[in-house]
């Protein structure tokens, strides 16, 4: 039987406070943090306000080290530290007592402000855009490395980027890791720093209120953006009890679904939110009537709050109305919509409400939406003795997620999710698909495929099936990566045409993601001004938009998640798929790895000195996608992933070899190991690991997670061809070695 998941520590930095207790005190008192934006220029925007956080002091940091941290890390570090301290896991030097600790985090923008500085310089004065470290440090895995480095722990990482639902998904995934027995303690969290690109994006969508954010008011006219970081320590009940930790509550249920209605608009009746909430309530072993308080997504946009109200009525309604004992509030009028952190901070609010009986008010309502009029929390309200609380988030791309927290009852009988399966030890490969770059470099849409002596490998989008797929109306605005993902996914599904789309999930993995759309959107801001930023392009810059398009075209309304990171995010994706299959959430999962190239990214690689001449020892930028259709395998039968390991990060290059050895030592010795990195930084490590015969895989340039996907397909075919188990190391540029064992039989 799988274990209960409990929460033992929380921490947050928000616009209302430098820590969680201050935030909570000011929140329940009815304060809000709306203020004019001062972090960047908003002169060309329709709206001018947001909820910005004060950055806590980091006394342990020298000014130089501090200057290298992104704003996102400045928010995340103290929040994570507070959560560890709250859980009794921080030592006297303010570092983690656990040397190994898994992380499951979420963000949408990462350190985007650093990326913006680079983009602005490149688009304006390229000669001055030499500070590559800035753009290199914008990606989300860098904030995770900051956490590892400064809090002194290491372990597997998962970075969820499901837009506004990410935070709830990261928590749910952390719980999955514990329930499936892969970890007994996970630090979960979300972080989001205000950035110009995202602010202008919401402004051009006219989704922000020019005056006050009024969730669930009939006259609401938009959201207010905010920034925050919120972390929590999740543990298995036995782990928490073995160290006599104070248990704050139980994380009892997690549900998620995908709304295929539209990229940015929820279905009017909130079908996916209904599915996510019902799934979470069922998993928690409660009834809707057991929920005393709901922290709503409640953005304050016309469509969100209508859709969400309908979803609440469907889930909690009795005789056509939501009973008044059920209290509901959106906390976004107080701290703003914190996007990738929203699911995390709002989960903390739902936990605090459960523990304290205090309820966070729904501010700025003059005339409430009738459907929730009897339920909105006023300042000063309490609800003591609640059995459970719920939080729900609806995101761009139709990502919907819900969590249920229950009062911890030591003696309660636990209903294990999905019958208490352990994860399948082996994953059946039911289909494979790939979109590869052309072997002969081609010129596409102004992209210089050779810059000087450097070779770049591009996908030829004029070839089938890509040429036809471009005519799908859903993807007409999408960044090219969507086409690659869709074609690879369709090819993988073609091998198993009978599988049920109702029982199919999607996990997509990215390193750079939709970089073409991002560059084009920001280019518009730089060239024509914030006022004329493109509403058609902004949603396509969001990490999970391509995933959402693929789900919509394939008709997959079940769980869909987007993960980001270096090449090893591909193995994180396989691990997430395994947890879903183990829990019985779905029967099959499409795991996709995809990347696209853009001239500005190639320029960045060039400035970093990555583009050595086109030999096998150089870095050759590439693009495309690979997809695996995975199911549960019968042990020892069929083409399968027989074992996988998400390797630990290392903090210095000198630790890379031992980190790789640690990872690969977990696999049997009598397997044939692939040489998978003859062309990059890890060449010398592979040389040192050399222990006899190895298998070389075809090289198709460096396309991060897409390369990892192609290598997996190559290794699977080699396993079938050679009748041997093949060990595939997957090397992460930012410091990780993960591995997969492919077998056929």
């Amino acid at each position: 039987m799988s274990e209960r998941v409990v929460v033992t520590g929380i921490g947050a930095v928000t616009p209302l406070g430098l820590d969680f207790p201050t935030t909570w005190q000011r929140l329940v008192a009815g304060e809000d943090a709306a203020a004019p934006v001062a972090l960047f220029d908003v002169a060309g925007c329709r709206c001018k306000q947001a909820a910005a956080a004060q950055l806590p002091d980091l006394p342990d940091f020298t000014p130089k080290r501090l200057s290298r941290l992104s704003r996102a890390s400045r928010l995340a570090l103290p929040a994570a530290q507070e959560a560890l301290a709250n859980a009794g896991l921080l030592d006297d030097r303010r570092r983690s007592r656990l040397a190994q600790l898994a992380l499951s985090v979420s963000t949408t923008g990462g350190g985007m402000a650093l990326g913006e500085q680079f983009l602005r310089a490149m688009l304006g004065q390229p000669s001055r855009a030499r500070q590559f470290f800035r753009v290199a440090r914008y990606q989300s895995q860098n904030q995770v490395h900051d956490l590892h480095e400064h809090l002194g722990f290491r372990g597997p990482i998962t970075i969820v980027a499901n837009a506004c639902a990410s935070g709830a998904n990261a928590i749910g995934h952390g719980a999955d890791l514990i329930r499936s027995g892969r970890c007994d303690c996970v630090l979960i969290g979300g972080f989001e720093a205000l950035t110009e690109l995202i602010y202008v994006g919401f402004d051009c969508l006219q989704a922000m209120s020019p005056e006050r954010c009024r969730p669930f008011d009939v006259a609401r006219n938009g959201l207010m953006l905010g920034e925050a970081a919120a972390f929590a320590v999740l543990e298995s009940e036995s782990h928490a009890r073995s160290r006599n930790a104070t248990i704050l509550c139980e994380l009892a249920g997690y549900g998620h679904g995908t709304d295929l209605h539209h990229l940015t608009q929820p279905h009017p009746s909130g079908v996916a939110a209904v599915a996510a909430m019902r799934q979470a309530i069922t998993e928690a072993g409660c009834h809707a009537s057991d929920i005393g308080y709901v922290n709503a997504h409640g953005t304050g946009t016309l469509l969100n709050d209508t859709s969400e109200g309908a979803a609440f009525a469907a889930v909690f309604g009795e005789d056509g109305a939501i009973p008044s004992r059920m209290r509901i509030s959106s906390t976004k009028a107080a701290i703003g919509h914190t996007l990738g952190a929203a699911g995390s901070i709002e989960a903390l609010f739902a936990m605090a409400a459960l523990q304290s009986g205090q309820l966070p008010p729904n501010l700025n309502v003059r005339q409430p939406e009738p459907i929730v009029a009897a339920n909105l929390v006023a300042v000063g309200e309490r609800q003591d003795g609640m059995a459970a609380t719920l939080t729900v988030n609806l995101g761009f791309g139709g990502s919907n997620a819900a969590l249920v927290f229950k009062r911890y009852d030591q003696g309660a009988v636990h209903r294990a999710r999905g019958g208490g399966h352990r994860p399948p030890l082996e994953l059946a490969i039911c289909g494979m698909g790939a979109v590869l770059p052309s072997e002969v470099p081609q010129q596409i849409q102004g992209l210089q495929v050779t810059t000087g002596e450097h070779t770049v490998l591009c996908v030829d989008r004029n070839r089938e099936p890509l040429a036809t797929l471009q005519n799908e109306s859903r993807v007409r605005r999408a960044s090219p990566i969507t086409l690659y993902m869709l074609a690879a996914a369709q090819q993988a599904l073609a091998a198993a045409p009978a599988i049920s789309r109702d029982r199919l999930g999607i996990v997509a993995t990215f390193n750079t993601g939709a970089v073409v759309a991002t560059r084009r959107f920001f280019e518009g801001i730089v060239q024509t001004g914030q006022r004329f930023a493109s509403p058609n392009l902004f949603p396509e810059t969001v990490f999970n938009s391509p995933t959402s398009h693929v789900a919509a075209v394939l008709g997959v309304a079940g769980p869909c998640s987007s993960l980001v990171g270096d090449d090893t995010a591909w193995v994180n994706g396989i691990s997430v798929a395994a947890a879903w299959l183990a829990n019985g959430l779905v029967e099959h999962v499409l795991v996709i790895g995809a990347e696209e190239l853009d001239p500005i990214a190639i320029d960045a690689y060039q400035r970093a000195g990555w583009l050595s001449p086109p030999t096998r020892t150089g870095f050759v930028p590439s693009e495309g996608a690979g997809a695996l259709l995975l199911g549960r395998a019968e042990s020892g039968k069929g083409l399968r992933i027989a074992q996988w390991t998400e390797g630990f990060t290392y903090r210095q290059r000198s630790e890379a070899l031992s980190s790789a050895q640690e990872c690969l030592a977990q696999f049997p010795k009598d397997v044939l190991r692939c040489r998978n990195a003859p062309h990059n930084w890890f060449h010398h490590i592979e040389e040192q690991l050399s222990d006899g015969k190895t298998l070389s895989l075809p090289y198709r340039g460096d396309a991060f997670v897409a390369s990892a996907a192609w290598s997996t397909i190559d290794a699977a075919e080699a396993a079938r061809r050679e009748g041997r188990r093949i060990l595939l190391p997957v090397w992460g540029l930012s410091g990780q070695c993960s591995a997969l064992l492919l077998a056929a039989g």
């Binding site: 539209h262 990229l263 605005r477 493109s534 509403p535 058609n536 949603p539």
Partner: protein, 89 residues
């Protein structure tokens, strides 16, 4: 005042909405939204209001005005003709 040409508006819609059809395939009376239309959605509507402001200097703040003006290219052309200071560029 010179009227905005239909061809100019066709180009504006096809380019801004990333349509996979040729500009000449859109008729003056073809609905832009809804059944039997060019197939635009709410994001396209916002995109077109931005494009109209950028190209003609006319700000559309009212959703109902936008809905009326963006029914078809003919409606947009007539609406633009009524706005002071709009001319072909």
């Amino acid at each position: 005042m010179a009227e905005v040409s239909l061809d100019e508006l066709k180009k504006l819609v096809v380019e801004n909405c990333v349509l996979k059809i040729k500009p000449e395939e859109i008729g003056e009376g073809t609905p832009l939204f809804g059944p039997g239309s060019v197939g635009l959605d709410s994001l396209d509507a916002l995109q077109l209001t931005v494009a109209i402001e950028q190209q003609f200097g006319i700000v559309i703040n009212d959703a109902e005005v936008a809905r009326q003006a963006l029914q078809s290219l003919g409606a947009l052309r007539r609406w633009l003709a009524q706005q002071p200071g709009v001319g072909a560029k």
